[in-house]
Point group: C2
Chain length 413, copies 2
Amino acid sequence: MIEIITIGDEILIGQIVDTNSAWMAVELNNAGFQLSQITSVHDDAELIKSALDLALEKNDIVLLTGGLGPTKDDLTKLTLADYFDTELVYDESVYQNIESLYRTRPSVLNELTKAQALVPKACTVIQNRVGTAPIMWFERDEKVVVSMPGVPFEMKKAMTDEVIPRLMKKFNRNAVINQTVQVFGYGESSLALKIEEWENALPDYLHLAYLPSFGLVKLRLSGALTNGNELQAEIDRQFGLLDEILGDAIIARNDFPLEKNLGEMLRAKKLTIAVAESCTGGNIAHKITSLAGSSEYFIGSVTAYQNEVKENFLGVSSEDLKSYGAVSQQVVEQMAEGVRKKMNTDISIATSGIAGPNGGTEEKPVGTVWIAVSMKDKTISQKYYFGNHSRENIIERSTVSAMILAMELIKGI
Amino acid sequence: MIEIITIGDEILIGQIVDTNSAWMAVELNNAGFQLSQITSVHDDAELIKSALDLALEKNDIVLLTGGLGPTKDDLTKLTLADYFDTELVYDESVYQNIESLYRTRPSVLNELTKAQALVPKACTVIQNRVGTAPIMWFERDEKVVVSMPGVPFEMKKAMTDEVIPRLMKKFNRNAVINQTVQVFGYGESSLALKIEEWENALPDYLHLAYLPSFGLVKLRLSGALTNGNELQAEIDRQFGLLDEILGDAIIARNDFPLEKNLGEMLRAKKLTIAVAESCTGGNIAHKITSLAGSSEYFIGSVTAYQNEVKENFLGVSSEDLKSYGAVSQQVVEQMAEGVRKKMNTDISIATSGIAGPNGGTEEKPVGTVWIAVSMKDKTISQKYYFGNHSRENIIERSTVSAMILAMELIKGI
């Protein structure tokens, strides 16, 4: 088992969100390792040492992130030298690596950065190819402690290129599989009742989890067996049974973000898409374009926050805007049709709603959202109500619902 | 001191990122409490109990999130009943709360949800006004353990309305202040050298941290003193000294996201803004509109992923697109001017670059980004190079740089 210890005051005062651990968990799982615990501690030598003590009692591997910067608040390296009862020594290979990084940088190599070449004598150094803080690999009593930078892209490169391959070599692994289906149209508990019989009949080595997420529920089956093929076959069989129970409510048999499933449908059917956003404010375009290769199917979008933009850029009727208001079936359908025609795409998505916290009325309270999807011969629209949620949450739910509505339309093509 | 224990397999297999803890840390800090540690454990009774044991050794308060769903994988309530040596009893007030929630829901109250009204006899129940899982407050030997749902908006409402006010009442607090300035144009170590003398002269009770973030470095001063006014005055004085050293490089004396600082500048100067995005794909519009009240200054945006959209929606010259390419000074300036004129705003932002991982050339490698900002009498543009970063990272750095360039332009107005 592995424990991750993240080091840094910034996590414990909430200045940053720890996204590293989730990424590491996924990569470690894929390599057959399981996490027992994630622990976040301050930049404090005593706290780091006591967390290490506890982690090494229960685990074979402890991965540390953070606290390796060149400045005084970073204590991890000194603490580890102390913990492993060793001294700091100058490492020429680290210095060479730092120097080569600075060759492509505009700034000058200063003494603080040069000091990054001092490393604990007892560790094996792994070069950090994209940053100045070296990765340090310690071993004691067949257990491994690895210290990596907290900067996400430095940590990710070190994990992928060096740390995980070395861990796989050193430790024997059990086959671990986590697989997910995404279900739309059920609440968590109504879904649980619908699949109760199936759930109760699962073999002991499979574990089911329910993960509600902005109008979707993800169902995850996890298991560990010596025989990975057997495990995979059983998970496939169980998801097959689930298909029979839930049918179309299963919108994907994976844990991909929706924009990826939408993108793959568009690519497979060679369709292009455009987006007209009001309440989602650019979030749908942002989600779609966050994926490499999205330029194959994504043509463009208009964020039409003000009514003039809806009229001038999307051709929405100014009379309808007056009669029905911006948050209406008439307007959202015209937005979808307008952007599709003007950007000359196969399909389009449009949103118009009240994300709040202000701007609601009795007739159209905060959380009221109209969504339309349009193709050449067909435009469909639907009204949603996400009342009582935060602005961020309403934007996110609208984005999810819009992508699902688009996927439903595309399925029929 | 407080420890947060987050409970849920989904965190340890990396299916979700723990955003709750950072939010809780900020709110607790503001109320004068400090976090000692964050621990994430599996949905497993023994692991939960041993984490509780360790946390109660070192802390007066332990806050648990997660594991309170109605389904079988959620074990927190049963585990707590066992840990506090008590039994589950039916609580009529919880049942009434659940029933009232269901009155506004389309779904039917089923037996799994009804079972949420069973609570450990030894706890004080706090009603969850936005979800079915009650909040449970336990006391033992003057220490407090509170269990809350992991669903972020349910946890946030419980913390704000009930848990923090009750903790403030029960525990005496020291004044704790964390304040941040945002510095642009320095790397972490070059900044450290620039302010070395100032840093060395800080009083003992102030702690400085460096937090690099997509081209910015945030400097955070933290301190704890019995006299909060004295602490605040000293932090103000220190930041005043820092102003003299760093001047314009300090772009904000707060920890707000850039879009908030940009938005407040626009609001203060009564300016409107429009955005034309290529490589940022809607992210700038999304960031700006994520804030309540942004419709006061944000008019709209065009995501012009394909060249036709740059021509038809923004009036970019098709000849220039051919001669210079989409990622060029000529095109990005025309994008900025085009969207400003067509949306009739005071200022505008445009981006055009190669976010990768594909699409780079020798002349314009992945990470090359042109950014322009435009107002009536002036358009400025700048070339950036974010090579060697991920797509996500390049999009984020471009977004940050574009907002900073806009803030520089607005300062001069």
